[in-house]
């Protein structure tokens, strides 16, 4: 079972990476790009075969390590 944990900065938290990428895209001549936000995608191969349990485990991992909940939020997808 594979879990995909997506970690993004919370709304309102400054995203220097996103800002810089937005500017770089503009310099490269890409028009019509508004806000850019950058986050992480963490793919976990899990031995667990029950989707509900896999999700629970991935969420626990995100809370414990993968996301910094002071400034980030996360979501989990099981595939």
């Amino acid at each position: 079972m594979k879990a995909i944990v997506t970690v993004m900065l919370k709304n309102g938290v400054l995203d220097p990476q996103g800002k810089a990428i937005g500017q770089a895209l503009a310099t490269l001549g890409f028009a019509g790009v508004g806000e850019v936000r950058v986050g992480k995608r963490i793919e976990l191969d899990l031995a667990e075969t029950d989707p509900a349990k896999a999700r629970e485990a991935a969420e626990a991992m995100a809370r414990a390590l993968l996301a910094n909940l002071v400034i980030e939020s996360f979501s989990v997808e099981i595939v």
Partner: protein
């Protein structure tokens, strides 16, 4: 929006008396935004209401001091028409909440205090205090803080050249992150914050404003309770890339004559910068927040005035230079906005969407700011520890001491800090008692250090305060530098407790005495109070940052031993073990009075050592501090990969007291010319004694016990890598 009343004022951190004072000044109920302005300006962090009466007693003057406390940073003349501009600042609470960003933005903030005065930053240092390594939270905090300091400093390209790290359980819930920046400017090109010129534009540059860290200044002024997790405001995220652009753009603009006044937006952001600039200039200021560059939609006046978004500056420009300035900031891709102008009203007027959101008279806001003479209680003197027996012998004690968290190698930390960028770092971290940074294109160099021994301050705040200042002076002296001035960062507990206020007052008294005796004034500093978790205070920690100058960088000496030298101990050794690391690490006792500080002897010994260094009689030098003589020898031996053979102690002193006592005012010198050095010492009445010779790859103790340098090194190097790297995944940065 909430009703403005006393309850809301209390939520904002204003006492009932303070709120009454607001009502008196305003003659009406303040608006929400006005209440916000009062609350941050009158917070401990911005108003120094508990500490001011004591800070005023510090000596701040010397012929070389150009600007003492009161400006963004202290300024001293260093020769060649140049000035060193420096300050230290704390980011303790933010670093507990989010260690990486807290430490990173701490570095960013202190950099701005320095380049806002026209200086190019040339060095960063940091004084760190962490909880017990065994406490479950400590490791994550250390990791994040070190990464944060490196992440920011490395990116802006200012070398991180020094600092200090201690561990103690009293910091478990309250680490100390004190960052220091040193910059260089021409003495006739120093920029101040006093606004002037009625009608002159007020210009905002740097990053956009978001809802970051609102009420950060008041948060930094309250102690943490168990509910602090909920109270946390939006954490500020640093953008070192923008900071780098801001440094370059500001320095470029400062080379023109466009700037009338400039001030960074630090704690309490737009509020404190605009209030202070107008207040200092004795003028008024009007802001139209519609023009403030905003990162988020629908921000209120209150939010914009209190936001602590990073990497922003406020300037007053000559009106005819606005275009030049705009072009420079556009070149560097930074926001530039005229957000107001200087008035003659003596008031700050804030408009938003055509509505006056705040209109406050500036003089009373400053003059009638609360000032407390808080009760103090003196710290009881510690009884002497009495005679001690050595349970394990010198060899085992040395190995234990060089490996303990407070003395072990800091390479794991300093390896993460770029210490060479700029190409002027003469003494990198670990190479000498003070970092030495040459001034580009000149012979002249700065010597820099930070020091404090909190366990001494806890045991006797006055001696501890004195000792901290003296130790920085000694460290600068030990590289051959002439100490010029200090900055300080007063980290203490809750000032409403008389015993804490007593620690503060006594520490200041001791610091002041040392500054006077050593001709070594305080030119800037910072106060961080309420460093407590659930009622337990930290060890009182007046961190001192010292700055000295070497006329020729080539004169600087380091720690490293070479073969064929004689070791000479300067200063008197009585074997004082009270509050020593030997007592704590070997006997498990944190007891006794700290070593006494004899300021006259300190000065005599130091002046002698410096003279010997400058006349080339010294191959290596190290001051004696934590761990005493034997630890100092070991550190010098490891630094130079050269062993030493030590003489027995003089009669009448126990070997462990001789080798591990922490008597003050001492230096260990390695010299090729011991005869001349000893003769000079005798003629000047300086205690000096030959204690051994250098060579080989072992440390040989009296009686013939040998410790190989490699085993010493292994013990010394072990703690941080074993503690940090075995398990640590890096998920977030």
């Amino acid at each position: 929006m909430k009703q403005v009343n006393q309850a809301l004022a209390a939520e904002f951190g204003l006492s009932a008396d303070e709120y009454q004072r607001v009502l008196d000044i305003m003659g009406r109920t303040p608006s929400f935004t006005e209440l916000g302005v009062f609350s941050v300006m009158w917070s401990e962090h911005c108003s120094y209401k508990s500490s001011r009466v004591w800070l005023k007693t510090l000596p701040t003057k010397a012929p070389w001091v150009i600007h003492g406390p009161g400006e963004n940073a202290g300024v001293v003349a260093i020769g060649d028409g140049l000035a060193a501009i420096f300050k230290m600042e704390s980011h303790n609470h933010p670093s507990f909440i989010e260690p990486y960003q807290g430490a990173a933005t701490g570095v960013g903030g202190i950099l701005r205090d320095v380049f806002t005065m026209g200086a190019r930053p040339v060095a960063n240092l940091n004084a760190l205090r962490f909880g017990d390594p065994k406490h479950p939270r400590t490791k994550r905090i250390v990791d994040g803080v070190v990464r944060g300091i490196g992440g920011y400093g490395n990116c802006v390209g200012v070398p991180t050249v020094g600092g200090e790290v201690n561990f103690h359980p009293s910091y478990n819930g309250n680490p100390l992150v004190n960052a220091m920046t040193v910059g260089i400017a021409a003495t006739d090109k120093i920029f101040l914050s006093a606004a002037a010129g009625i009608g002159n534009p007020v210009v905002y540059v740097g990053s956009k404003t978001g809802r970051d860290g609102i009420h950060g200044a008041t948060m930094a002024s309250t102690e943490f309770g168990a509910d602090s997790e909920e109270k946390r405001p939006t954490v500020q995220v640093g953008d070192p890339f923008v900071e780098k652009l801001l440094i370059e753009a500001c320095l470029e603009l400062m080379a023109t004559d466009a700037i009338v006044a400039i001030q960074d937006m630090g704690a309490a952001g737009l509020t404190s910068s605009s209030v202070e600039m107008a207040g200092k200039g004795g003028v008024g200021i009007e802001l139209d927040l519609d023009h403030v560059p905003q990162r988020e939609p629908n921000m209120s006046a209150y939010e914009m005035m209190l936001s602590e978004s990073q990497e922003r500056m406020l300037m007053v420009l000559r009106p005819d230079r606005e275009d030049i300035a705009r072009a420079i900031f556009e070149k560097w891709d930074l926001d530039f906005a005229v957000i107001g102008h200087i008035t003659d009203t003596g008031r700050i007027v804030v408009k938003h969407n055509g509505v006056v959101e705040a209109d406050i008279p500036l003089d009373p806001l400053a003059d009638q700011a609360p000032l407390y003479h808080r009760p103090t209680a003196e710290t009881a003197k510690q009884p002497p520890i009495g005679p001690t027996a050595d349970p394990i012998g010198l060899e085992a004690a040395l190995l234990k001491l060089v490996g303990c968290p407070d003395l072990c190698s800091r390479a794991w930390i300093t390896d993460q800090y770029d210490s060479t960028v700029g190409g002027q770092t003469v003494k990198r971290p670990g190479a000498a008692d003070a970092a030495v940074v040459r001034l580009e294109g000149l012979k002249r160099a700065l010597a820099l250090t930070t020091d404090c021994t909190p366990r001494y301050v806890q045991a006797d705040p006055e001696i501890g305060g004195m000792q901290a200042v003296a130790e920085t002076w000694r460290n600068l002296t030990a590289v051959g530098a002439r100490p010029l001035a200090i900055t300080d960062n007063m980290n203490f507990g809750n000032p409403t407790k008389p015993e804490i206020m007593g620690q503060f007052a006594s520490a200041i008294k001791g610091m002041a005495a040392a500054c006077i005796a050593l001709d070594y004034p305080v030119v800037s500093g910072n106060v961080s109070l309420y460093n407590e978790t659930e009622g337990r205070g930290i060890l009182p920690t007046p961190a001192i940052g010292g700055l000295g100058v070497l006329d020729d960088a080539a004169d600087a000496v380091g720690l490293a031993l070479k073969p064929g030298l004689t070791l000479v101990l300067i200063g008197e050794t009585r074997g004082h073990l009270g509050q020593s690391l030997w007592l704590r690490e070997i006997l498990g006792r944190e007891e006794g009075p700290p070593p006494p500080v004899d300021l006259a002897a300190e000065r005599r010994n130091g002046d002698f050592v410096r003279h010997q260094i400058l006349t080339a009689n010294v191959a290596a030098c190290h001051d004696l501090a934590d761990g005493g003589l034997l630890v100092a020898v070991a550190e010098m031996a490891m630094a130079g990969q050269t062993g030493a053979t030590l003489n027995p102690p003089p009669a009448g002193i126990a070997p462990h007291a001789w080798f591990f006592g922490e008597d003050q005012g001492r230096y260990l010198i390695a010299t090729r010319a011991p005869g001349a050095l000893l003769v000079a010492a005798v003629s000047e009445d300086i205690p000096a004694i030959e204690i051994g010779t250098t060579g080989g790859s072992d440390l040989t103790l009296p009686g013939g016990v040998t410790i190989s340098l490699s085993s010493l090194q292994a013990e010394h190097a072990r703690f941080f890598p074993e503690w940090m790297d075995q398990t640590h995944g890096d998920a977030s940065h």
